[in-house]
C-alpha cells in the first residue's frame, strides 16, 4: 500500500469515524442520564441529512448554510425531546423493563419508513459548503474535516456542560446515583428530557455538516447506528473520550476494509469488531466495571 493510499484511508476513515464518534456521544448523553440507548439515533442522523437536502440550494452561501444549521438543530432538539417524552412515558405494566428498546426502535422504523415513502431507496445528494481539499494530490471532500472539527467541538462543549452548568452537573449526579440525585431535589425527568434534546442537537449538526459525505437514504440509518454503537462499545459505554477513540478506530478499520475488500463488506467488518470486543472486553477501553451490584 502506497503512502497516498494510506493517507486516503486515514483521512476518510477519520472523517467517517468522526460521524461514529458523534453518534456515540449522542448515545452517551442520554444513556448517562437515563440508561436508555436511543435506537433511533441512526434514523435521526439521516433525517437531518434529508432536511438539509430540502433546505439547502444547489450552491449554498454561508448565511443560508448557518441559518439552515440552526433551523435543523432546533427541529431535532424539539423532535428528540418529544421522543424523550414518549420514551419516558410512565408505563404501568409488568413488561415495562424493555419498553424503551421498543419505543425507540419503533421511532426508528417510522422515520425510515417516512423517508422511504418520500424518496424510495434513492440517496439524497446534498451540496457541500466548501470545495474539496487536496490531500496528497487526492481530492477529499471538505465535509470530512468539518466533521472532525465538529466532533472535537461537541466533545469540548459537552465536557464543559457537564462540569460547569447546573443542568450538566445534575446529569452527572443522576448518572452516578439516581436515588441520591432524587433526594437532592433534582427533577430527574426534566434533566433526562434535556439530555434527549442535546443528543438531538448533536445528531442534527452531524447530519447537516456531514450531509455531503453521509449516505442519506431510508435504509442507511441502521448502518450508522451500529457503527456508532460499535465505536461506543470499543471506547467504553458512557465515555465520550472512548467514543472519540472508538469512532476513529471503527472509521479507519471499516474504511480499510472497504478499500481492500469492497464497500459491501464494510458493515460486516463493523459487526465482526462489535462481536469481538463484546467477547474480549465488554467494558471497552475506557469503561469501568460496574461497582456494587448486590
Amino acid at each position: 500500500m502506497s503512502i497516498d493510499e494510506l493517507a486516503l484511508i486515514l483521512v476518510r476513515g477519520l472523517g467517517q469515524g468522526a460521524i461514529y464518534a458523534l453518534i456515540g456521544m449522542s448515545f452517551n448523553i442520554v444513556v448517562n442520564s437515563s440508561g436508555i440507548l436511543n435506537f433511533a439515533n441512526g434514523a435521526l442522523l439521516v433525517l437531518a441529512g434529508v432536511l438539509a437536502y430540502f433546505i439547502l440550494p444547489a450552491t449554498p452561501d454561508w448565511t443560508i448554510w448557518i441559518l439552515a444549521a440552526v433551523g435543523i438543530a432546533a427541529c431535532l432538539f424539539v423532535f428528540v425531546s418529544l421522543q424523550g417524552v414518549l420514551t419516558l412515558f410512565p408505563l404501568k405494566s409488568s413488561v415495562e423493563q424493555h419498553s424503551w428498546l421498543i419505543t425507540t426502535m419503533a421511532i426508528s422504523v417510522i422515520l425510515s419508513a417516512g423517508i422511504h415513502l418520500y424518496g424510495g431507496s434513492l440517496a439524497f445528494r446534498v451540496p457541500s459548503i466548501l470545495p474539496p481539499v487536496s490531500v496528497f494530490g487526492l481530492s477529499t471532500p471538505s465535509a470530512y474535516f468539518l466533521l472532525m472539527a465538529l466532533a472535537v467541538f461537541w466533545f469540548v462543549v459537552i465536557r464543559w456542560f457537564h462540569q460547569k452548568t447546573f443542568t450538566g452537573l445534575a446529569m452527572s449526579a443522576i448518572a452516578q446515583d439516581l436515588d441520591a440525585a432524587k433526594v437532592a431535589g433534582i427533577s430527574v425527568k426534566r434533566i433526562q428530557l434535556v439530555a434527549f434534546g442535546i443528543s438531538g442537537l448533536v445528531l442534527a449538526t452531524t447530519g447537516f455538516v456531514g450531509a455531503p459525505v453521509i449516505n442519506i437514504s431510508a435504509d442507511t440509518g441502521i448502518g450508522y447506528l451500529l457503527s456508532g454503537f460499535t465505536a461506543l462499545v470499543i471506547g467504553g459505554l458512557g465515555s465520550n473520550l472512548g467514543a472519540m477513540v472508538g469512532g476513529a478506530l471503527v472509521g479507519v478499520i471499516s474504511m480499510f476494509a472497504a478499500y481492500r475488500f469492497g464497500g459491501i463488506y464494510q458493515d460486516t467488518v463493523t459487526m465482526g469488531l462489535l462481536i469481538a470486543v463484546l467477547m474480549l472486553r465488554p467494558e471497552g477501553i475506557f469503561g469501568l466495571a460496574a461497582a456494587r451490584k448486590v
Binding site: S99, M105, A106, A113, P282, R292, K293, V294
Partner: protein, 598 residues
C-alpha cells in the same frame, strides 16, 4: 460447559410434570392455526391455504422470538436473518445443486444454527441491548452478504426451488407441507407452554430477572442465554427451511432488515409473554397490510412502527395481554397467601430436647485474608480477615457502611478483590466466578430478596434444590413437602416484604449448600418471625450441619444464636471472638452505644 447443558435440559421432577396442566390458550392457539390452514384447504381455496401456511411459518418464528423476550429476557432483531440463511442454504442446495430436500433441510437448519451461535457467543458475556445491537447488525449484514456472494446464491435472480412431493395437494388444496406447518406450529406452541415449567425454563426466568441470583444458585447466566438463542435459532431455521418448498423461490431481497424487525414488532403488538401473542401479532401485522390493504402495502413499515409505538404506549401488554387482563379483572380476586416458618417447622420439637454436639474446633470453611477493595477513593474493604468454622453460626455485625455486605460479596464472588485471598473449603477461590463458588456449596440470600413473580411460591423454593443438578432434596425440611401442593399454585407477587425474605431463606436452606451466607435475614420480620428464624438457624446448624454466616442488625438475635461474632468498622475487623468476649470489648461497646440497633 457441555456438562452444564446436559444438566439444564434434564426433565422436570415427576411430581411437577404430573400436575402440569397446560393453559387452555395453547389448545385454542393450535385449533386456530389448524383451522386457518385446513378450512380453506378443505374448501380448495389455494390462495388462502398458501397465505396461512406462510403466516404459520412466521408465527413459529414469532413464538421463538416470544420465548427469547419473555423467558430469556433477551432482545433479538435478527431472527429474520436466521430464517433467511436457512431458507437460502436449503434453496441453493436443492434448487441449484439438486440435493434431496431432506439433506438440504439439514443443511439449512445447520446454517441457521451457525448464525444462532454467532448470537449465542456474545450472549455468554453480555446481555440485553448489547445483543439487540449484535442481532440487528446481523439482520443488516445478511442481505448485503447475499448480494456479495451472488455467484453462490443466484444473485439478483434468486433461486427457484420446487419440492413436488411436499407441494402436491392431498385433499382440496391441503398439501403435505401445510400439514407439516400445522404440526410444527403446534409443537412450537406446546414447547413454549411447557418451557416455564421445566428446569431450563425456570433458569431462563431467573437469569433474565436477576443474573446475580442466578449465580447465587449456581447457574452461569451466559450459558442459559446462549442456549435460549440456540433454541430460537433452531425453531426459526426449521421455519426458514419449510419456506423454500412453500414459496418455491428464494430471492435476495426477501430477508431485509425490516423482515427481522417485523417478527419483533409482531410479538410486541400481540403481547409479549402471552402464548397467543405471536399468533395475533403475526395475523394483524402480516394480513392487514399485505392482504386486506394491499394497495397501501408501501405504507406497511410505517404502519408497523406506528402500531407498535401506540401499543407500547397505550397497551404495553399487547393485544392478547390487554384482553386477558380485562377478562381476569372481571373475575374474583385471588386468595391471600402467606409463607410462614411456623408451617414449615411446627412440631419439630425434638430439637430442643436433644441439641446435637457442636464441633468446637472445626475446620475453617471460609477463610478471608487481608481482603482489600476500593472503588475510586471509597474503601469498601481495607484489609479485613475473617474465619468461619464448620458447623458454626458466625455473626457479622457493624454499623452501616462498615463492609459487612462487601465481605459477603467477596466470599460469594460478586466483588473481585484488589488484593487479599479468599478460601472456601480449604481451596483458594479468589479468582473464581460466583456461580462456580455456589457449586462448591455456598448459598446466599440478598438484602433485597430475589423472588421471581413469574414462578409459583413452590417453584421459588424448588429452584434452590435445582441449583446445581442435585435430584430431589433429602436433607431439607421434610415438612416442606406437605406445603408443596398448596404453594404450587400460589403467586408470590402478593407476599409482603418480610415473607419474601423468608421464602428466599427457605430456598437457600433447601439447596445442598453447606455454607450459607445470610444478608440481614431478619429485616422486615415481626418479633414472632424473628424467633422462628433464630430457631431455624439453630436447627440447620445442629440437625443438618450447615455453616452459617449471618449479617444482621438485630444484635439480640445475633448474640442469641451465634457461636462466634466478628465486628466490622470502616472496612476492617474491629473485633472477633466468642459472644461474651465481644460484649465486654470496650471498643465494640463504643461502636454500638446509642441504641441496640446499630
Amino acid at each position: 460447559m457441555s456438562q452444564d447443558i446436559a444438566l439444564d435440559t434434564a426433565s422436570t421432577p415427576p411430581a411437577a410434570s404430573q400436575r402440569l396442566k397446560l393453559p387452555s390458550s395453547v389448545w385454542l392457539g393450535i385449533l386456530a392455526i389448524a383451522a386457518s390452514i385446513l378450512v380453506p384447504g378443505a374448501l380448495g381455496n389455494q390462495y388462502w391455504t398458501y397465505t396461512f401456511t406462510l403466516v404459520t411459518l412466521y408465527i413459529v418464528v414469532a413464538i421463538m422470538q416470544n420465548m427469547l423476550i419473555s423467558e430469556a429476557g433477551q432482545m433479538s432483531f435478527g431472527q429474520g436473518a436466521v430464517f433467511g440463511i436457512a431458507a437460502v442454504t436449503a434453496a441453493v442446495m436443492t434448487g441449484l445443486h439438486g440435493q434431496p430436500f431432506w439433506l438440504s433441510a439439514i443443511g439449512g437448519v445447520g446454517a441457521g444454527l451457525v448464525l444462532g451461535a454467532l448470537f449465542a457467543a456474545p450472549a455468554l458475556r453480555v446481555q440485553g441491548y448489547y445483543l439487540g445491537f449484535v442481532t440487528l447488525s446481523a439482520a443488516l449484514v445478511f442481505p448485503q452478504l447475499l448480494i456479495a456472494f451472488d455467484s453462490i446464491t443466484g444473485g439478483v435472480n434468486g433461486v427457484p426451488a420446487f419440492v413436488m412431493s411436499l407441494a402436491t395437494p392431498v385433499y382440496g388444496s391441503i398439501t403435505p407441507l401445510s400439514i407439516l406447518a400445522v404440526l410444527f406450529a403446534a409443537f412450537a406452541l406446546l414447547f413454549h407452554a411447557v418451557l416455564p415449567h421445566t428446569v431450563l425454563g425456570r433458569r431462563m426466568i431467573i437469569v433474565s430477572n436477576s443474573p446475580e441470583a442466578a449465580q447465587a444458585l449456581g447457574i452461569h447466566p451466559g450459558t442459559i442465554r446462549s442456549i435460549a438463542f440456540l433454541i430460537a435459532a433452531f425453531g426459526t431455521a426449521i421455519a426458514g427451511v419449510l419456506y423454500v418448498p412453500l414459496v418455491g423461490f428464494v430471492g435476495p431481497t426477501a430477508f431485509r432488515v425490516d423482515f427481522s424487525i417485523f417478527f419483533f414488532l409482531a410479538v410486541i403488538v400481540g403481547g409479549q409473554g402471552k402464548l397467543l401473542g405471536p399468533i395475533i401479532g403475526v395475523w394483524l401485522l402480516h394480513l392487514v397490510p399485505n392482504v386486506f390493504l394491499a394497495d397501501f402495502s408501501h405504507y406497511r413499515l410505517l404502519i408497523y412502527g406506528v402500531v407498535a409505538l401506540a401499543v407500547m404506549l397505550a397497551f404495553p401488554d399487547g393485544v392478547v395481554g390487554t384482553l386477558s387482563k380485562w377478562i381476569t379483572s372481571r373475575r374474583s380476586g385471588s386468595e391471600k397467601v402467606t409463607v410462614s416458618l411456623h408451617d414449615a417447622l411446627r412440631k419439630d420439637d425434638e430439637l430442643a430436647a436433644s441439641p446435637a454436639p457442636r464441633p468446637e474446633d472445626g475446620a475453617a470453611l471460609i477463610e478471608v485474608r487481608e481482603a482489600r477493595k476500593s472503588f475510586g477513593n471509597a474503601v469498601a474493604l481495607g484489609g479485613a480477615s475473617l474465619s468461619v468454622k464448620e458447623g458454626t453460626i458466625h455473626g457479622l455485625v457493624g454499623p452501616n457502611g462498615s463492609g459487612k455486605t462487601s465481605m459477603l460479596n467477596t466470599i460469594s464472588g460478586f466483588m473481585p478483590l484488589d488484593s487479599g485471598k479468599v478460601e472456601l473449603f480449604g481451596r483458594n477461590v479468589t479468582r473464581l466466578a460466583p456461580w462456580r463458588r455456589t457449586r462448591m456449596g455456598v448459598g446466599r440470600t440478598f438484602q433485597t430478596p430475589r423472588i421471581f413473580d413469574r414462578l409459583s411460591i413452590w417453584e421459588n423454593v424448588q429452584i434452590g434444590r435445582e441449583g446445581f443438578g442435585r435430584a430431589g432434596g433429602e436433607n431439607g425440611l421434610a415438612k416442606l413437602g406437605s406445603l408443596a401442593a398448596r404453594w404450587r399454585r400460589q403467586d408470590p407477587s402478593l407476599l409482603p416484604h418480610g415473607q419474601r425474605r423468608l421464602l428466599e431463606i427457605l430456598r437457600v436452606m433447601e439447596s445442598d449448600a453447606r455454607v450459607i451466607l445470610l444478608d440481614e435475614p431478619a429485616g422486615g420480620l415481626s418479633p414472632e418471625e424473628r424467633a422462628d428464624l433464630a430457631y431455624l438457624l439453630v436447627y440447620f446448624r445442629d440437625k443438618l450441619g450447615k455453616t452459617i454466616l449471618l449479617v444482621e442488625h438485630d444484635l439480640r438475635m445475633v448474640w442469641n444464636v451465634a457461636d462466634e461474632i466478628t465486628v466490622m468498622e470502616t472496612g476492617t475487623v474491629a473485633a472477633s471472638g466468642m459472644p461474651e468476649e465481644i460484649k465486654s470489648n470496650p471498643k465494640v461497646r463504643a461502636l454500638f452505644t446509642g441504641g441496640g440497633d446499630a
